[in-house]
């Protein structure tokens, strides 16, 4: 809970002035708004009805000044309220995004991508809206309640009867909210179901049609649709009671004041000095109605605030999340030696998972060695390499680089020395150059071209109309799989990494090009440790050593020739692949 205030305080830091000014102006605006009807009444009573043009002239002048004052403070208040709330929203969003940047995959998985997107856009906008309402609307409604209650009480003690309405307004508000909310939640769930059903049907239309399940899907949809209808009607029927109940309260107060007012007038003989008069009875009822009206408005605004409280809580959850992979306090900023060592490493993605992904891994890779990795899907190859740049942390055991646990290094320093290319890489929308610059923002155009040449990407980049400045769509949708992989290899190479990891990075590249890429890398990046995961024996059999993974364990670590003799699984994979060549 402390964090929630910390987040708000942090995000409000440079818009406090605007917020206060907004409140200040709304107070003046409201005051003018309360006074104007008074003056208007006297314009009619003392001016128009009597036909005194001087009074009309003077009163309209006063009114005019008041109206201008109301208008200008209203405008000023709007300007400041909007300034304050958008700056607030900007800060909130920026703080949330900063926080997300520190998240590990475990943190991200906890929230899911879609939800993080919603939190940083829609939720922030909800909060912005509410903040605006708070520093304008709510302040205004509260002032109106206070002014009109004060005015009503000032006229006659009967005005105090109107105050009785306040608890009733709030009580009915809470009862309605409390009974309607759970049903609304049910509605939202069914709406989610409906949307899921819809998207399943749209995406899976080929399946629906090829199994001729149109009728079946229709019935499913109608069932959900009916349950939405049922619950929505139930919930809204409760919610719409709000207005009649408010009318009931307002009418009751009216009648009570009318009755006691009449009695009081008769008591006083309509003498202002002895008590209530007919004229003030009218004002009394007007003010009490205004008070209840403002109360209703206040309650209405509270609803929109309540909605945004959920949003705030969701932001708070993000803000409060402790990134589980981060720098330690006395981190080491330099890596002196790049020998990699795994000591008794156990690993799984979810702490709750029954079995380990990696079990008892012990291995040492010397600086500059070229290592191949092979094994079936799910055998733990990718998880193994993910531990080196600390994309994940081990459950137990140690990963060491240069004899020092990777957790002790500065994350940036560690990751900057490792280049990693995966089978499914993300290219970001931008240009080819901007994607390669991801690896090294300071690289020159020549360096970009050089990297693209090493990865054999330059041959197709060159042919593009805009060369290295050719547009890249989101996910690199306008490039083929092989082309994407080659751009990604360039992106990793430009970092001049000390450790280069290829996780099936050349799966979509043809064999000749693949060979050329490896040749270039061997030539240009000397003394760089290479770790190459591949499904194809042919891609790795020339490595210094090959690690064979099976079911999360290392079952072989040796040269190709030795593994052929000692490792049954390796031989099996080899046989499977060479069989095809002999066919």
């Amino acid at each position: 809970m402390k964090k929630i205030f910390e987040l708000i305080k942090l995000s409000l830091s440079n818009c406090k002035k605007e917020s206060l000014l907004s409140i200040f102006f709304v107070a003046i605006e409201t005051t003018a708004e309360v006074i104007i009807p008074f003056v208007m009444a006297s314009l009619i009573d003392k001016g128009v009805e009597v036909g005194d043009f001087t009074v009309i002239k003077n009163t309209t002048m006063v009114l005019f000044v008041l109206v201008v004052c109301q208008m200008s403070t209203g405008v000023l208040c709007a300007i400041f309220a909007v300034r304050a709330s958008t700056i607030f929203a900007y800060n909130l969003r920026s703080n949330i995004f900063k926080k997300i940047q520190t998240f590990s995959f475990k943190n991200i998985d906890k929230f899911k991508v879609g939800s993080l997107v919603v939190r940083s856009t829609t939720d922030v906008i909800n909060i912005k809206q509410s903040y605006q309402i708070m520093i304008r609307g709510i302040i205004r409604a509260i002032l109106m309640v206070v002014f009109s209650t004060y005015a009503a009480c000032k006229i006659h003690y009967i005005g105090r009867y109107a105050i009785v309405a306040i608890p009733f307004v709030f009580l009915s508000f809470f009862i309605i909210a409390k009974s309607a909310l759970p049903i609304f939640k049910k509605v939202f769930k069914s709406v989610d179901d409906l949307n899921n059903n819809l998207s399943e049907n749209i995406r899976g239309i080929r399946v629906v049609k090829s199994f001729s399940r149109e009728k079946f899907e229709e019935n499913k949809f109608i069932n959900i649709s009916k349950s939405i209808f049922k619950n929505f009607v139930k919930a809204e029927s409760i919610a719409v009671m709000w207005l009649p109940i408010m009318h009931f309260i307002m009418y009751t107060i009216n009648i009570v004041i009318a009755y006691f007012g009449t009695m009081a007038i008769i008591e006083s003989g309509n003498n202002i000095n002895l008590g209530l008069t007919t004229g003030s009875l009218v004002s009394l009822i007007t003010y009490s109605a205004q008070m209840i009206g403002s109360l209703m408005f206040l309650a209405f605004l509270t609803v929109s605030l309540l909605i945004s409280i959920e949003s705030l809580v969701r932001l708070y959850e993000v803000f409060n999340e402790e990134p589980d992979i981060k720098n330690i306090d006395n981190k080491i900023d330099e890596i002196k030696n790049f020998d990699i060592e795994f000591k008794n490493v156990n690993f799984k993605y979810k702490n709750k998972a029954k079995s380990n992904i990696l079990t008892n891994i012990n291995i040492k890779i010397n600086e500059g060695e070229k290592i191949g990795i092979i094994g079936g899907t799910g055998s733990g190859k990718s998880s193994f390499v993910n531990l080196i740049p600390r994309l994940y942390d081990v459950i137990s055991g140690e990963v060491l680089i240069g004899g020092i646990n990777v957790k002790q290094y500065d994350l940036d320093v560690l990751r900057k020395s490792i280049g990693m290319v995966m089978q499914k890489n993300t290219l970001f929308s931008g240009t080819i150059a901007s994607n390669v610059l991801f690896g090294d923002e300071l690289a020159s155009e020549d360096e970009i071209k050089e990297a693209l040449k090493i990865s054999m990407a330059y041959e197709f980049v060159e042919k593009k109309t805009d060369g290295i400045y050719e547009r890249v769509e989101q996910d690199g949708a306008n490039f083929s799989g092989g082309q994407k992989q080659r751009i990604c290899i360039a992106r990793a190479i430009i970092k001049k990494p000390k450790i280069l990891i290829f996780d099936d990075a050349t799966a979509s590249v043809d064999t000749n090009t693949e060979k050329k890429i490896f040749n270039e890398i061997n030539k240009k990046l000397n003394n760089c440790t290479q770790i190459i995961i591949s499904q194809k024996i042919s891609s790795i059999n020339s490595c210094d050593k090959i690690i064979v993974f099976d079911m999360g364990e290392i079952v072989g670590f040796d040269t190709h020739d030795n593994l052929m003799k000692t490792c049954a699984i390796y031989r099996e994979i080899c046989d499977l692949q060479t069989k095809k060549e002999n066919d």
Partner: protein, 619 residues
């Protein structure tokens, strides 16, 4: 497959004529209930209006009378009590009416929503595949959500309010004209100034609102891209640069949102102020007219203005501005709902897939037309077929394929060579431009589509499952299958391996698109689903692309079982899986360039040979 981002631009939607009428037509079904709603509404409005009048009645008829009586020594309270009592009864009736019409309106609104929703879905299920290929999922979805919602809001809220406000606006203007044309002109001219300013401001607001919306869209996309690419962001230590980039986009949003919000919010005090200005000017000008005895034109002639008339006029002029702002605040919603309605009707007006034919598929395996029965043998012939998705962009050229009963036909070639398109034609997701496709000698166009598709199961690379248990998902292939049948199917296709490891086994609830299962597991489920359907024809389009080679070897046994005694079309990326096909078609650029068995093709040392040895990129 690439999922397009969902960006809907509302400003581009042009509203067709008749959309409004068509939208209103959904109310017709509820006309009697609507009559009651109007009745109850009028009663409750009357109670509300009477409350304002009652004070005057109370004072004039009772308070003043009783004051007089007090002076005479005897006060008769009973008429006062009766009047209060009548007032209470009226209010109670008003409140009850308010209750009833509110609840009725909720029911009507939700019923209309349900009607349209179901109409849309029924329609959608009949649309041809091309509709889904052309339209983005998000775009179709938003018709059910956003568009439908604005339409409901408009039908049950904005339109009735607008009607009521217009009605009272006309009465007010009428009354004002009856009192004084001079003063009405003063009011209207001031109003025009206000209207002009409002229009200017809201134009700015709308255009910057669109910019702010787009900025949000950009932010949305950026966050998504950066979280999906979090691995790269971390590997390349891009976090700080990322934050700077994000804040640049965030700033663009802030500036536009600031302008949009400011412009729309300052309308309130400005309109309010102008309302007061109209009031003040009327009083001033009215007073001036009276004092200087200027002619007052009114609807029925010319005369002099009295003080009483000014007082009445003033009370009308207050309502005048109120009704105008009522109307003008609803108009944007109505306009928005029209473009929403337009998009809904667009979906409803798309031509449905026509399913007619002569032959049906009987359960005992015959193509049946009247008394004519042709045994389903499993022959598919594709003769000289040409096809294009768009005119003048031919996708397939002169395709000839002959699949004999029980044969396995493989289609290989680069992405975009036209392999999947062929499968789209043999189950008639699309119709051919020219040529002939026959099933057991019957022209494909003479077979009912539903039966044709029932005869053929497809397993695609992108597996689509449905919310429900694993069992339900397998049963999707055959709704009559028992639990035991489903479990057997899973065992025989080796899906049982992973299913049994799930916490709730076969009863595990999965979601259509969430990542509960890996791609490979989904493919295994899809294979089991196709297996239980037990059709004479099968299409496997990259069905095992996400299953690793060793698991695939296991699954192969199951796959062999599926393929046995059926005519099978296989598209596979991994060529090792199609080696034992009866015939392999090598496709390039919409044509079949090589055909033959694996060994025949290898010895040709042509395109297939190069593909097989990885000399040509498949993607």
């Amino acid at each position: 497959m690439i999922r397009k981002r969902n960006k809907i631009k509302y400003e581009n939607v042009s509203v067709k004529k008749g959309t409004f009428i068509r939208m209103l037509s959904y109310l017709i079904k509820y006309k009697f209930r609507l009559l009651f709603v109007i009745l109850f509404f009028v009663v409750s409005m009357f109670a509300q209006v009477y409350t304002n009048l009652y004070l005057k009645i109370l004072i004039d008829d009772h308070v003043l009378r009783m004051l007089n009586e007090k002076a005479n020594g005897y006060i008769n309270y009973s008429p006062f009590y009766t009047s209060i009592f009548h007032y209470i009864i009226l209010l109670v009736i008003g409140i009850i009416c308010n209750f009833i019409y509110s609840i009725m309106m909720v029911r009507i609104g939700e019923s209309i929503m349900m009607d349209i929703r179901e109409e849309m879905f029924k329609k959608m299920e009949t649309l041809p595949i091309s509709y889904f290929d052309k339209n983005d999922t998000g775009d179709i979805m938003s018709r059910y959500t956003l568009d439908l919602d604005t339409m409901r809001n408009s039908l049950t809220n904005s339109i009735p309010q607008c009607f009521a406000a217009t009605f009272s606006f006309i009465t007010i203007i009428g009354s004002m004209l009856v009192l004084s044309i001079n003063l009405t002109l003063v009011s209207i001219s001031t109003f025009l100034v206000m209207f002009f300013i409002t229009k200017k401001l809201s134009n700015i607001s709308i255009s910057s609102n669109i910019k702010a919306q787009n900025a949000i869209g950009n932010l949305d996309g950026y966050v998504e891209e950066m979280i999906k690419g979090a691995k790269e962001v971390k590997l390349f230590s891009y976090e700080n640069r990322n934050i700077i980039e994000f804040n640049n986009k965030n700033k663009i949003w802030m500036e536009n949102a600031k302008l949009a919000d400011t412009m729309s919010i300052i309308l309130m005090p400005i309109n309010n102020g102008f309302g007061n200005v109209i009031y003040i000017l009327s009083a001033l000008v009215g007073g001036f007219i009276v004092v200087n005895n200027i002619n007052n034109f009114y609807l029925f002639g010319v005369g002099s203005l009295t003080l009483g008339m000014i007082v009445s006029f003033l009370s009308f002029s207050k309502n005048f501005t109120r009704e105008i702002s009522n109307i003008s605040s609803q108009v944007p919603y109505i306009y928005q709902s029209l473009s929403g309605a337009n998009r809904i009707f667009e979906l409803l007006d798309v031509e449905s897939e026509v399913d007619n034919g002569e032959y049906r598929l009987s359960n005992d395996g015959y193509w049946v037309r009247g008394i004519e029965k042709i045994k389903v043998e499993g022959n598919i012939e594709v003769n000289n077929v040409y096809f294009s998705y768009e005119k003048d962009k031919p996708i397939l050229k002169d395709i000839n394929i002959y699949a004999r009963p029980g044969q396995k036909v493989a289609l290989v070639g680069k992405t975009g060579a036209g392999k999947t398109t062929i499968t789209n034609l043999i189950n008639r997701f699309y119709d051919i431009d020219s040529g002939l496709i026959t099933y057991d000698g019957i022209d494909i166009k003479k077979i009912y589509k539903k039966d044709l598709r029932r005869a053929m199961a497809i397993v695609l690379q992108d597996v689509n499952l449905f919310h429900g248990s694993i069992l339900d998902n397998i049963r999707y292939g055959n709704l009559n299958a028992t639990d035991e049948d489903c479990i057997r199917a899973a065992k025989e296709t080796y899906a049982s391996f992973f299913i049994e490891q799930l916490e709730n086994g076969y009863n595990t609830i999965i979601n259509g698109d969430t990542g509960d299962l890996s791609q490979g597991q989904k493919q295994l489920l899809a294979i089991a689903r196709a297996y239980i359907a037990n059709p004479p024809f099968i299409i496997l389009d990259e069905a095992t692309s996400n299953i690793d080679a060793r698991t695939e070897k296991l699954v192969q046994t199951g796959m062999d079982k599926i393929m046995k005694n059926r005519t099978v079309f296989v598209i596979a990326h991994r060529l090792s899986t199609i080696i034992n096909s009866d015939v392999i078609m090598v496709m390039d650029n919409g044509e079949i360039v090589e055909r033959g068995s694996h060994n025949e093709l290898l010895s040709k040392k042509g395109r297939y040979y190069n593909l097989y040895n990885g000399n040509i990129e498949l993607e």
